[in-house]
């Protein structure tokens, strides 16, 4: 089995941050906040968060805060719950949650809750819900999708409500996501993709069914997705790399207890020590 090319991946992430002037990065700059979360969490899992200038990052994050309390993907853009989450997560990584006016942020999020209990992403209202196959889709009646399943299972876990899930039924659908190569796909008939190593895996862990997949084969699949020369991880072997898949590959390996990585919390998607730091400081 290959090895995790730690230094290559660190170098790759740091270089992406600097490569801001290409068409590809300009069309993605609306989700820079997410990119910050993916890149920085990966660095922390690899034990290299210190290579980044925390003050610069934090100052940029605060410039992305909107008067409503929510955070945008970049300066001057509209706020959204997804970017708000990433902003809070990054501040947690740096142990700087105290720079936040937490009441204000909480008020923004609470303001997005609808009467039926769901949350809209922003003031314009799209909502993301359980199907007969045990899975969850985007909206009531939507096709089961591993990404959505993670969001729902994670949310239920945080809310202490996993008992509402039929774990056998969901676990069954999830373990069927493992294909011959050992990788995981997001729904039936699709190709495996490294990002599902996170979403399927963390869901299985949260419902105590991770022994229903072959962990060793999955580790091998993730390692095969690395670009060991230039750094970074791609969706499947020999494809182009990006920060998104680099994060999910490393996070997946952490869940699989790959040696040398910090442990990651499957529900909060942050290093366990960061979560503990928050809870124990209360």
């Amino acid at each position: 089995m290959g090895e995790l090319a730690v230094y290559k991946h660190v170098h790759y992430i740091l270089s992406v941050e600097k490569r801001k002037d290409s068409f590809e990065s300009v069309v993605m700059d609306h989700l820079r906040m997410n990119g910050a979360y993916w890149g920085l969490t990966t660095l922390d899992l690899l034990g290299k968060l210190g290579t980044v200038n925390a003050d610069e990052v934090i100052s940029w994050i605060m410039k992305c805060q909107h008067e409503s309390g929510g955070f945008a993907g970049n300066i001057g853009h509209d706020p959204h719950i997804l970017y708000t989450l990433s902003a809070v997560q990054v501040l947690a990584l740096f142990n700087k949650l105290d720079v936040l006016d937490t009441d204000k942020v909480a008020a923004y999020i609470i303001g997005l809750q609808n009467e039926d209990g769901s949350f809209s992403g922003d003031m314009w209202g799209e909502v993301d819900t359980r199907n007969l196959d045990g899975g969850f889709g985007c909206t009531p009646g939507g096709e089961s999708h591993a990404g959505q399943i993670f969001c729902c299972v994670g949310a239920l876990a945080i809310a202490g409500s996993l008992h509402h899930i039929d774990k056998d039924l969901l676990g069954w659908w999830l373990c069927e996501r493992q294909v011959k190569s050992g990788g995981l796909n997001g729904r039936p008939e699709k190709l495996p993709d490294v990002c599902y190593s996170w979403w399927v895996l963390s869901s299985l862990i949260l419902i105590d069914r991770v022994h229903w997949i072959d962990k060793e084969k999955l580790v091998k699949f993730i390692l095969d997705c690395q670009d060991v020369e230039n750094g970074g991880i791609s969706d499947r072997p020999n494809d182009a790399v990006d920060v998104f898949h680099t994060y999910f590959g490393v996070a997946g390996l952490s869940l699989l207890e790959y040696p040398g990585l910090k442990a990651i919390d499957p529900a909060y998607a942050l290093p366990v020590n960061v979560i503990n730091r928050i809870f124990f400081s209360r």
């Binding site: 300009v26 069309v27 945008a72 509209d78 314009w124 939507g142 069927e176 039936p188 008939e189």
Partner: protein, 432 residues
Amino acid sequence: MNENSWDENRAMDLLNQFEAILESDPLIDEVGFIHPSQFVTLSNECGESGDSSEDGAFGPKNTKFWNRDHKLGISTEVLLPLCKAAKSAFMDALKQYKNLCSFSDNNHEDENIMFGSLSCLSFESEVMKHGRAVLLLSCDFGTAWNSRKLVVSKKQQLSMLMDELLLSALVLSYSPKSEQAWSHRRWVIKMIAGKHSNLQDIMAKESELVEKIAERSKMNYRAWNHRCWLVSYMTREQMLHELKKSRDWAGLHVADNSCFHYRRRLILGISENSCCKQEGENSSYDVENYQIVKEELDLNEVLIKRYIGREALWLHRRFLSLCMIRHLTTMHDISCHPEQKTSMDNEINIFLDNESCLLNYCSTIQDTEFEDFKAQAMYSAVYFLWLITQIPQFREIDLQVKLRTENLKTILHEACPERSFLWGFPDLNGSF
């Protein structure tokens, strides 16, 4: 000319050219990015020589934009400066527009309103013009989509709403997975549904749009998700019609799980739309619902036997079988007479018997040259196992059926040893 030497004026020039094309040709239905070397080829293909005719500055001599037959090509060389210029112009206009809006919201003196609203109008059109340019280059830029919702919701005009459908359809033509575009469409439709009566028309067109996009972009989750969303606006008749109409397409795309999920959504919708009617109608709906599930099961079986080893088909069957069992159970719920119960058990037995025949048919691995026979055996075995765990009636059934399933374990071990842990399910031990 390399990207770094585009100064602001030249970039603005580009933006103006781009926006002028969009303005002059409102029927553009396709946008693409072209390598500069392809411009010559394109011109030659159109049989142009020397000077252009109607296109003026956008004929063969132009190597940045190409516009003909309502198609628009943009040279990859200019993408970066164009995108930056569009974003910058858009953000400026948006800032001014929002300032003026809040200014005129807060002031009620007549003069302020006049001045404020005129400037507001001009910035509003700038926001829409530059926003459209940005979105054609960077279609997931949420702030730009939001600004359009802001402007359109203030104006409340049907024509503007229809224009939004045109723009999002254009974006989807080259970016069929853009969630922002799909979401924008849903917002527009909700606005239209609120006050205009041509909703049924719009629903029908939306469904067609998704099918067209789904043909080019297989298993497009977002497209099919959009189509599922439409179902909540449909009448029972429309759902029945959709189910029938999309049947052939499904038969030609047997690996498309999203397509079958859509059919499941329709079937669920049809059965949910059966209650709350008068007594007499109830039973005829029941019969119709039963027939729908039966037909779908028959179609599914034909496809399973024809297209060997397709996961989507087997997953679809799980749902259908559950539906069938539920139908058979509830249809007999009306009375508790023992004959009724026996009759129900018989029908369930017949059904399960058919399923175990299907299992036996599919579990023979004829050859291992390709993966498909082995996959078929695995899917059929896992399907049957799943059925056993999900259907409580299995505990009481015929001995014959039970005997047939003795070799299920063997099939499982042969076809997919890695899944044999499923055999350890608590329910199974009770069944045997």
